[in-house]
């Protein structure tokens, strides 16, 4: 599909939730489909933790198809014949937007001098992009997982910017279990001697640590049923156990492959910063402790979707948001879809999700 890749330099420093501001912020983004003259048909798509702006175009490093090609394109549920789809790399990431690997004013990478950012900071950068593009009001903001957190944050903090808010397999706050898994990943990275306090650019990156972080996280993206279905106790290219610590089982081999593949395309420090932003996310806390107050007076229409096999952000988390939206009197739809794949269901073949998304976007 015809994608348009660009990078925007924000003209003003970006104020940050943690205090201070980030200067010289760049936002890398892709667009698909034509923007109407009245700029009324824009959809902002927000990507997940390790996602990027290449939603429906080949990834520049891996060459793999975009991460939501099945959903975004001409005639697809997010129809680029009708909508102008914008997907921006979040700040803190490593695919062109400003992050820890970007150059600081002293000419060296920020590394751990990069400020700790929040989901709202990421969204503030997105809003800066929308301002620069002259898009005052989105037809919709759409996101799954961390993308859903951004969509909720936009709806709560810039309520006039989106007519529709679509939140898939997401949450309004990170649970203790969510934080625990992220901490495991971060500790794996920081325990890799090559991490070197985050100062590894130009040398060897902490790929072993990052791969372990990805392996642990990947388990949380799949349901037990999906793992069992896919791998069971099958052995990998062998007839018997080796009585060693090689990847005897297919599931081990799969995870190692996922881990090492990930290090080719992702920066370990970005993983630290983005997981931290997700852990800090608590939309109620930002609004005086009551989630409904985050949505007071909203005119947007909301749609939340969860999956019955998602144990990372289970249905109860979506319901929690739905209850708050009801209490705020907002127009909200919610459906728990049945899909076997776990959290990753939002990226996979779930025809009911296509229908819900297409219907909600109108």
């Amino acid at each position: 599909m015809n994608a348009h890749s660009q990078t925007l330099a924000l003209t003003a420093p970006l104020p940050l939730d943690g205090g201070g501001e980030l200067a010289r912020v760049e936002v890398a983004y892709e667009t698909y489909g034509a923007l109407k003259a009245d700029r009324s048909n824009a959809i902002l798509l927000c990507h997940a933790l390790t996602g990027d702006q290449y939603v429906a175009s080949p990834h520049p490093i891996t060459g793999k198809p975009g991460w939501w090609e099945r959903m975004v394109g001409p005639g697809k549920p997010i129809d680029t014949d009708r909508f102008h789809v914008i997907c921006a790399n979040v700040i803190g990431s490593c695919m062109g937007s400003t992050g820890p690997a970007s150059e600081a004013p002293d000419g060296r990478p920020h590394a751990m001098r990069f400020p700790v950012i929040t989901i709202r900071d990421m969204v503030r950068a997105h809003v800066g992009l929308l301002d620069a593009l002259g898009i005052e009001r989105l037809h919709a903001v759409v996101g799954g997982s961390m993308g859903g957190m951004q969509a909720l944050s936009l709806a709560a903090n810039w309520p006039e910017r989106a007519e529709r808010v679509l939140v898939i397999a997401s949450t309004s706050r990170h649970s203790a279990q969510n934080i625990a898994f992220h901490e495991l990943g971060r500790q794996a990275i920081m325990a890799d001697p090559r991490w070197n306090g985050g100062d590894y650019y130009g040398g060897e990156a902490p790929d072993n640590g990052l791969a372990v972080a990805r392996m642990a996280a990947h388990i949380t993206y799949l349901s037990e049923e999906a793992l069992t279905e896919k791998f069971g106790r099958n052995l990998q290219d062998r007839d018997a156990k080796t009585f060693g610590f090689d990847a005897d089982f297919q599931v081990e081999s799969y995870l190692r492959y996922q881990g090492s593949g990930f290090t080719r395309r992702f920066d370990a420090n970005s993983y630290l910063y983005i997981t931290r932003a997700m852990d800090y996310f608590d939309l109620a806390e930002e609004h005086g402790g009551r989630l409904a107050d985050a949505f007071t007076g909203t005119q947007a229409r909301f749609c939340l979707v969860s999956f019955d096999s998602d144990w990372l952000y289970p249905t109860s988390e979506s319901r929690h948001v739905v209850h708050a939206l009801n209490a705020a009197g907002a127009a909200v739809s919610f459906v728990e879809l049945s899909a076997p794949h776990g959290h990753d269901s939002f990226l996979l073949d779930v025809p009911a999700l296509d229908r819900v998304i297409g219907g909600f976007l109108g």
């Binding site: 229409r301 749609c303 319901r319 739905v322 209850h323 009801n326 209490a327 009197g329 127009a331 909200v332 739809s333 919610f334 459906v335 728990e336 879809l337 049945s338 009911a352 229908r355 819900v356 297409g358 219907g359 909600f360 109108g362």
Partner: protein, 193 residues
């Protein structure tokens, strides 16, 4: 598309541009009709496939259990709360009625009348739980856990201090006038408090 008779009555009574909560909205037939008359209409539905059909038609429907989830809705957030063919499935119909009149200024309630002569005859003559066109499912698989009659409902409304504004009765799709507790298969009540 022609609406079920109880829904058609409710659709006719609801003033255009009202705020409406449809509890147990099913496939959203009433919601679509009300949307066409300019209403801001929301739904609650327990069956995920029905919810999916509603959402894919652009309706605002929340998958949930009215017994539990009504509590989240603010007082008098709606001009009308509609409970069609759902009262008899509620865990506590009496509390459900309270909730309806809390979230809505007015409420519509429709239900199959268990005192219809066919139902009475089945019980009297056959000595078996009735399976009729208004109660089509066997006792062991029906979702109707609290069968109710026109008389019972009027009594409940009185106990709850709810005023019956209007009432309609049907046998099949024909209106019934008089001797409703004998002759009506379905009843529709409009209530206020």
């Amino acid at each position: 598309m022609s609406l079920r008779p109880d829904l058609a009555v409710i659709a006719r009574q609801i003033v255009p541009d009202s705020r409406v909560l449809d509890i147990g909205c099913g496939d959203g037939a009433l919601m679509l009709a009300l949307r066409d008359s300019g209403c801001d209409v929301r739904g609650i539905e327990i069956d995920p496939e029905s919810v999916e059909r509603c959402v894919s038609q652009g309706l605002s429907v929340v998958q949930g259990d009215a017994d539990r989830d009504l509590a989240d809705y603010p007082d008098k957030g709606f001009d009308y709360a509609v409970l069609s063919q759902t009262l008899q499935t509620a865990a506590r119909p009496d509390r459900m009625l309270d909730e309806l009149l809390r979230v809505g200024t007015r409420a519509f309630v429709s239900f199959p009348n268990f005192a219809h002569w066919r139902t009475r005859a089945a019980l009297l003559l056959q000595g078996r739980m009735p399976v009729t066109r208004s109660i089509p499912v066997s006792w062991y698989e029906t979702q109707n856990i609290h069968h109710v009659t026109v008389k019972d409902f009027r009594e409940l409304a009185r106990e709850k201090g709810a005023r019956i504004e209007r009432e309609w009765f049907f046998a099949g799709d024909r209106p019934v006038a008089g001797a409703a507790n004998w002759r009506a298969e379905f009843a529709v009540f409009e209530l206020s408090r």
